[in-house]
Symmetry: C2
Subunit: 504 residues, 2 copies
């Protein structure tokens, strides 16, 4: 631009605003650079500092928050530009986002092809889509359901825009749960059993986005989960398996952005869900995969029909990527373990591995079912005998031995912390447990502080069908501060239906 | 909430950030009120100050922008809460937005009924939808096209959430242009002709949202357009018609919010477009309506088929609301007047009304066509004779006399301002004008300063098919400052195809 240094360069200021994935820039409404370029509020703009360039959404500011020759940046804008200190930025109109024409076509019912998916996902990963544009894409993929070819193309595009790992050996085991069920922390147990049978299982897991705990949060209370790829290789060579937080490995980087929008509008549709799961598994190098789909009225998948359909589509797409798949449709009507929250779930995992009396039988059974499916899928067990073999591996202590070896190889084997503040919620009358609301239970655990406070969460004392007496404990809230305890108690008192009791 | 004053009340701070329709609140990531309620970044929150309550989207902040017990508010949040000074606000979880379940249903292909539209539109008007939620609604209405009943229900809901005006008499005339064509400023001329024939025409118009001028911007360079309903009544009693900015009359308040999202993703679909237009006409009390649909490759409607389909749907829905409709499908391949921008378009309007030699013949002809259709529709002219009657009314000076009377009744009859800085762009070679890009022409007019600077814009010197000589003027840029002139010149130099010249 000819206007020169005075008018089209603005001094960047870090505002510390967390605008999530969408970069936001704040300028005075009448700043010369913006008037001359004709930017209005919510214009998409291109910011450049010599080395880097990013797209951002412009917000106008009046008053003294931002000077006339300054540009305020949200945190993600600041970081994507790689700024260390106040720097002059050039602001201009970005070239038209040609991939969005394909999104517009999809909205109107056209199909996406491989090249189109590549362009869209690559622009999303590069931060070129605003939240509004991302929402249009996510919505269109639910309105005009992705067919097999589209789902495959989307998965491939999501794999290609991130890192892909390769491991020695022809069998790389993995498992995944299509979420929505609190306390369903089977992964560490399945990995331990698989490792005991010599399977290579470089397990990468996520931290919680909107749930009270992810597997990485849980395992982090026992061992170190932030490993580099080289560290992973080293651990695998020694003990066959590892538990690693996948966040720093940059698998399928579009996924987080899409998930946040999907959560904001509470919309899960099959195509994007399958692409989300399988893109990460392909990137992680998996060849043999067990998928757990819990079904229940307050789980993510709510009917047997939906689960069957999802299974069929998972199988089709996995086949395309050469992944040998076993889908297990399981009971999602209630939590699987007793604990909900990182440390409480870790405690249940350890109890099962150590064959303690207090080990939740449902967690043990579910873990053996899934581990058994994996043993059968990889030829380590005969058809129909996997579950029993998994159970034997647990009871013999072999699984626990391998679990401890993995943790030590990762640098640490700790006991999960115990919350300082606890309060037990009691049954208001005699009766039978008729219903447990997974969603509100998860909400209460988050109010208690999970997952940021690792010891926080909920310890459930009853299962569906149990007979309880008035005054008997239903669940205990665990928190790290009295304030959080007060809020969590207030929430569960205001929501007496979290655990429903009927006449026995 | 029991936490008390310390933890769940935050001191509001006005940040002056223009976040458009979406209210945004900024808090420290670890502010006690937010931790205890479990808010994460981008949570939707309820803010209350005793008198008012609003929904807002939460952004987390680190650093010193916002204090630990403060809450920063975007401008629309501050205004909706009716704050005058720093006030303590309560922040809490809003009740679930039940109407969004209907949007989710629409995304998946379910139909919207009348009650559903009422709930959705009412929540949108009350600011309960985030931009992400609005986008999901807009996208779904394009993916699963609204049928007649849905469009009717949406129109009705948009009418019901705003003001509705009633005028004496059984014939209330109106006209509307389905935009996208710069310089198509026929409205003032049509109104003047209608008024000359005794028609009641309380014309409300919009200011430009993303175009170089709206009718209200143009008329504001000649007379005062911000009239109250009582003032409108008074003007109508004296001179039959008026030119009023509709923005302060609160017709169909959902419309602006939906239009901004539609523009952000460049998505126009029939149902929402029809509901947008007709909801404002019903609210304005219209009984007889002429709609102009210009068709051309760079206009809003790009094919004759699309225009025919739109016409048929307009007729169906208008019929439901008892509006007598005449749709005119017109040539949208090039600008209609010569001027683009408020004052330049006003100049053309005055030239036509005054029968000056420099009056653009296309603007006069188009205005007579539309005015003629209106005269026929309202029984003031025989079928087939409206255009001629309109032309006679212009040539006789009657239309101009009524125009001046209306302006004077509204308080002022001024000459539009003339820009201080002008630069003519010349033909680079001999040839014939083969194409005019309406969109980039509009863009250049906006870079020149329109509509904020009323005198800014573009004066076009050629029409399609004209023969030009090298060095002859194609168009002149008008600006109010040299800086804007430089930028507009740079844009048109970088875009030589705005006016395309081929061998003669």
């Amino acid at each position: 631009m000819k206007g020169g240094v005075e008018s089209d360069l603005l001094l960047a200021r870090r505002l510390g605003i967390d605008s999530q994935h969408e970069a936001i820039a704040f300028v005075q409404r009448d700043c010369p650079a913006c008037k001359s370029e004709g930017f209005s509020a919510h214009s998409r703009v291109l910011l450049q500092n010599g080395q880097a360039e990013i797209f951002a959404t412009l917000h106008h500011v009046t008053g003294d928050l931002i000077g006339l020759n300054e540009i305020g940046l949200s945190e993600v804008a600041w970081q994507r530009l790689g700024l260390q200190e106040a720097t002059r930025l050039r602001i201009s109109h970005p070239a038209p986002l040609s991939s969005f024409a394909l999104v517009r076509g999809k909205i109107l019912g056209q199909r996406l092809n491989e090249r189109g998916c590549d362009q869209i996902i690559s622009d999303i990963v590069d931060g070129r889509y605003s939240d509004i544009q991302l929402t249009a894409f996510v919505t269109a993929c639910s309105s005009h359901i992705l067919d097999r070819d589209e789902t495959t193309a989307l998965t491939k595009a999501m794999v290609n825009t991130g890192n892909v790992l390769n491991w020695p050996g022809s069998v790389i085991a993995d498992k995944h749960c299509v979420g929505g069920l609190p306390g369903n922390r089977t992964t560490p147990i399945v990995v331990a059993i698989a490792a005991a049978h010599g399977l290579t299982m470089p397990k990468t897991s996520s931290k919680a986005i909107t749930s009270p705990a992810g597997t990485a949060d849980t395992m982090n209370t026992i061992t170190d989960v932030e490993l580099s790829v080289d560290q992973m290789r080293n651990v695998l060579e020694r003990v066959n398996a590892c538990f690693v937080w996948g966040g720093s490995l940059n698998f399928s980087p579009a996924d987080d952005k899409l998930i946040r929008i999907q959560k904001a509008i509470d919309l899960d549709s099959e195509g994007p869900l399958i692409a989300s799961v399988l893109s990460k598994k392909v990137a992680a190098g998996a060849t043999h995969l067990v998928i757990d789909i819990p079904v229940g009225p307050t789980a993510k998948v709510r009917s047997a029909e939906a689960a069957d359909s999802l299974r069929a589509h998972f199988e089709e797409i996995a086949d395309h990527f050469g992944i040998t798949l076993s889908v297990q449709i399981t009971d999602g009507t209630q939590p699987v373990g007793r604990g909900i929250g990182p440390a409480l779930e870790a405690r249940d995992v350890l109890r099962v591995l150590r064959n303690e009396d207090l080990a939740p039988p449902e967690l043990r059974d579910r873990s053996c079912l899934l581990a058994g499916a994996l043993l059968e899928l990889t030829g380590k067990a005969q058809k129909g005998q996997g579950t029993q073999l998994a159970r034997d591996t647990l009871l013999s202590g072999e699984a626990n031995a391998h679990f401890e070896a993995i943790c030590l190889a990762q640098g640490r084997l700790s006991d999960p912390p115990i919350a300082e503040h606890q309060r037990t919620i009691s049954a208001p009358r005699n009766g039978r447990i008729a219903n447990i609301d997974n969603r509100r239970l998860a909400k209460a655990a988050k109010l208690a502080g999970a997952p940021e406070d690792p010891a926080a969460g909920i310890d459930l004392h009853v299962y569906l069908g149990d007979i309880v007496r008035q005054g008997g404990g239903l669940f205990t809230l665990h928190t790290e501060s009295p304030g959080e305890l007060a809020y969590a108690v207030e929430y569960v008192v205001a929501n007496p239906g979290i655990v429903e009791i009927t006449a026995p």
